[in-house]
């Protein structure tokens, strides 16, 4: 289906990747990032037609932390606002749909995460099935390592050298990014508004997201059918992409994604460094979308794919296709 309106990412900003929030509260961490994204788009605080954010209260143990962050967006007089309790990539999806319906022309999308406030190895077990998985406290690295072993057994991944120190065999500490605190913001705009805000808007040609069963034993961990289906539905296979930003919070998972997305040597994968360079949990996926868009803004890419994930072992996957040319101009 052809989207009824052309919608583009026109601005992107993210916090420094230096690790901890350095004593900042969530609103304090977000404020400079929001201001930079709004500056790029030429919007005043509170001026966007729709505001949507992504975060998880569990990360920092603060109930309703997303309501606190509304302090940073200039939410008075009251704004139209929504929140998703997951990575900000899904907030971008909601904002995109909102603009497609014609109920908004511009949207501010942001995400924040303070995983260093707690221990993500404990915290992220709480997203698992409470009956059969959560009581065992399997941390994300353990689950990723089960997936890596399945990939080795299937011949998709090399057996690691026996002499190395392992975080969770077969994976080493360097196979995982260190969780860092961070924030990111994106501005979306429709049609001529986007053209006015940005010299080279990154037009969203399609986004889709798909989810697999939550039980790891019900899935083929060597494959990502949800990524492949989301990519198909987003139009990723209609023409080659030159850039792909992948949200793989473990090296082995990048192998799965490259195969599911049919990325060959002609595609520049993760020019930003990807999730391995910095993993501000709940922000990392939105950063992939932002980085892909920023490459189009800069003229470094004409057609880019961005991917975001959520849940254990790439359970839930979102794929977006961004282009320098909007749908309308190629029809």
């Amino acid at each position: 289906m052809t989207p009824p309106r052309d919608v583009a990412v026109v601005a992107f900003a993210h916090s420094e990747r230096d690790g901890s929030a350095d004593g900042a509260s969530e609103p304090e961490m977000l404020l400079p990032v929001l201001r930079e994204a709004l500056r790029q788009a030429g919007l005043a605080p509170g001026e966007a037609d729709f505001t949507c954010s992504g975060s998880s209260d569990y990360l920092a143990g603060r109930p309703f932390s997303f309501t606190l962050t509304l302090d940073s967006v200039g939410a008075w007089p009251p704004i139209a606002e929504s929140h998703v309790e997951t990575d900000g990539a899904w907030a971008l999806y909601e904002a995109w749909v909102k603009i497609l319906t014609g109920r908004a022309d511009t949207a501010l999308v942001y995400a924040h995460g303070k995983p260093t406030a707690g221990d993500p190895a404990d915290v992220l077990t709480r997203q698992l099935d409470p009956y059969y998985l959560a009581p065992l406290w399997p941390d994300p690295r353990a689950l990723a390592a089960l997936q890596a072993r399945a990939l080795i057994d299937a011949g998709h991944l090399e057996e690691p050298p026996a002499a190395e120190a392992h975080a969770v065999l077969p994976l080493r500490a360097g196979d995982f990014p260190a969780p860092v605190d961070g924030a990111a913001a994106v501005v979306l705009a429709a049609g001529d508004t986007a053209r006015r805000m940005c010299e080279r808007p990154a037009w969203i040609r399609g986004i889709d997201h798909r989810i697999e069963p939550q039980a790891p034993g019900l899935r083929d961990l060597t494959d990502s059918p949800s990524t492949r289906l989301a990519a198909e539905r987003a139009g990723a296979f209609r023409a080659p992409v030159d850039t792909a930003e992948l949200h793989a919070p473990c090296t082995a998972q990048e192998t799965v994604l490259r195969r599911a997305l049919r990325l060959d040597g002609t595609v520049t994968v993760n020019p930003s460094g990807g999730a391995l360079a910095a993993d501000p949990v709940m922000v990392t996926g939105l950063v992939r979308l932002g980085e892909a868009a920023a490459r189009i803004h800069r003229g470094d890419s004409d057609r880019a794919l961005a991917h975001a994930t959520s849940g254990p072992c790439l359970q839930h996957n979102l794929v977006a296709v961004l282009e320098a040319v909007p749908e309308g101009e190629t029809r």
């Binding site: 509260s25 609103p27 409470p130 399997p138 072993r149 019900l218």
Partner: protein
């Protein structure tokens, strides 16, 4: 800039869930050392079982008993077990397809080291000594040598185990009615998460001043309003606030309520008055208890001042100052 304050924060809760009929039969079965799966519409046996068919989403209720032995389908060696995980000593995370099941169950395997673990190895359940109807009734898995079969000598040792695993895997699951005495109808999973809380830079500045019995706010450079307590940002304008300003200590009761129900664990006798107080120079009212006056004499416009007790950072309550009441017009915007 004052030091950024931090404090330990523990979020602890018993995660209480009710069970559907299939989950109830499965977890009750574990208590009775019986492993049940559920048969899907396309004839597969899922262990652990689910209430709805993963393909058709229809209700599935046909239970089947599978063996307490199975085959490892993938594994990961955990050299550093965490407190809440099932074993204290290094162990392997495993997905195990129990004999008779078509899907694998996540659990842990007690093994001497990664050299003793491989995909395809045979394992069996080691039951927890005390079982309550929970996934942890399976204490762990342990390596398992199949009993020597009649064909053992003929087939030879090499490869015989995997042959038998294949045979065992084809052993059909036996239909089971899922009926047990005193079925488990719910689970309670204790959860505890530990954090280091920081209130942020602006709040740290405010709290540092409070320790000196000074109440501070921060002024918005755009609308000029003074926010108390400060949050580092003006919530109306969405711009950072950096100019600190001392407010109060006197203020005006803008509105109040009389509390007649004692909060659990509160050391204050009811009835008492809880009020919004606009401190002099502040553009946002804060809330606090009013003391030093009978509850039925508190009124809007009453002038009050903070009372600190002991070495507490926050005022214990506000007391009347005896000043004449403020005129309504002076605080109506702060209601």
């Amino acid at each position: 800039m004052p030091e950024i304050l931090t404090a330990p924060l523990t979020v602890s809760f018993p995660f209480t869930r009710s069970l559907g009929p299939v989950q109830s039969a499965f977890l009750t079965g574990l208590r009775e050392r019986t492993v049940l799966g559920v048969r899907t519409t396309d004839g597969r046996v899922l262990v652990p079982p689910v209430e709805y068919d993963p393909v058709t989403a229809g209700e599935i209720r046909d239970l089947a008993e599978v063996a307490p032995t199975g085959t490892v389908t993938t594994w990961a060696w955990n050299p550093a077990p965490r407190d809440k995980q099932p074993l204290r000593t290094p162990f392997a995370w495993v997905l195990v397809r129990l004999d008779g099941a078509d899907t694998a169950l996540l659990h842990v395997l007690d093994a001497p080291g990664p050299h003793a673990v491989r995909t395809g190895m045979r394992v069996r359940i080691r039951w927890a000594p005390e079982r309550t109807g929970a996934i942890t009734d399976i204490g762990c898995f342990e390596p398992y040598e199949d009993e020597p079969g009649e064909d053992e000598t003929a087939a030879g040792k090499a490869g015989a185990g995997e042959d038998r695993a294949r045979e065992a895997g084809h052993r059909p699951a036996a239909p089971h009615d899922g009926v047990f005495d005193a079925p488990v109808t719910g689970i309670v999973t204790p959860a505890r998460l530990d954090y280091t809380y920081t209130p942020g830079r602006a709040m740290s500045r405010h709290l540092a001043a409070l320790a000196e019995h000074r109440i501070t706010g921060e002024r918005c450079p755009s609308c000029r309003k003074v926010h108390v307590p400060p949050r580092g940002v003006c919530p109306t304008c969405g711009v950072p606030t950096t100019e600190q300003t001392e407010v109060g200590p006197h203020g005006t009761v803008t509105t109040f309520c009389v509390v007649n129900i004692k909060a659990k664990g509160a050391g204050i006798d009811v009835p008492y008055v809880y009020a919004h107080i606009a401190l002099d120079g502040a553009d946002l009212a804060l809330h606090a208890r009013i003391g030093g006056i009978p509850y039925d004499e508190v009124r809007m416009g009453m002038r009050v001042a903070p009372v600190w007790t002991g070495d507490a950072r926050h005022p214990d309550h506000f007391r009347p100052t005896g000043e004449p009441d403020a005129a309504y017009d002076t605080y109506k915007e702060l209601l």
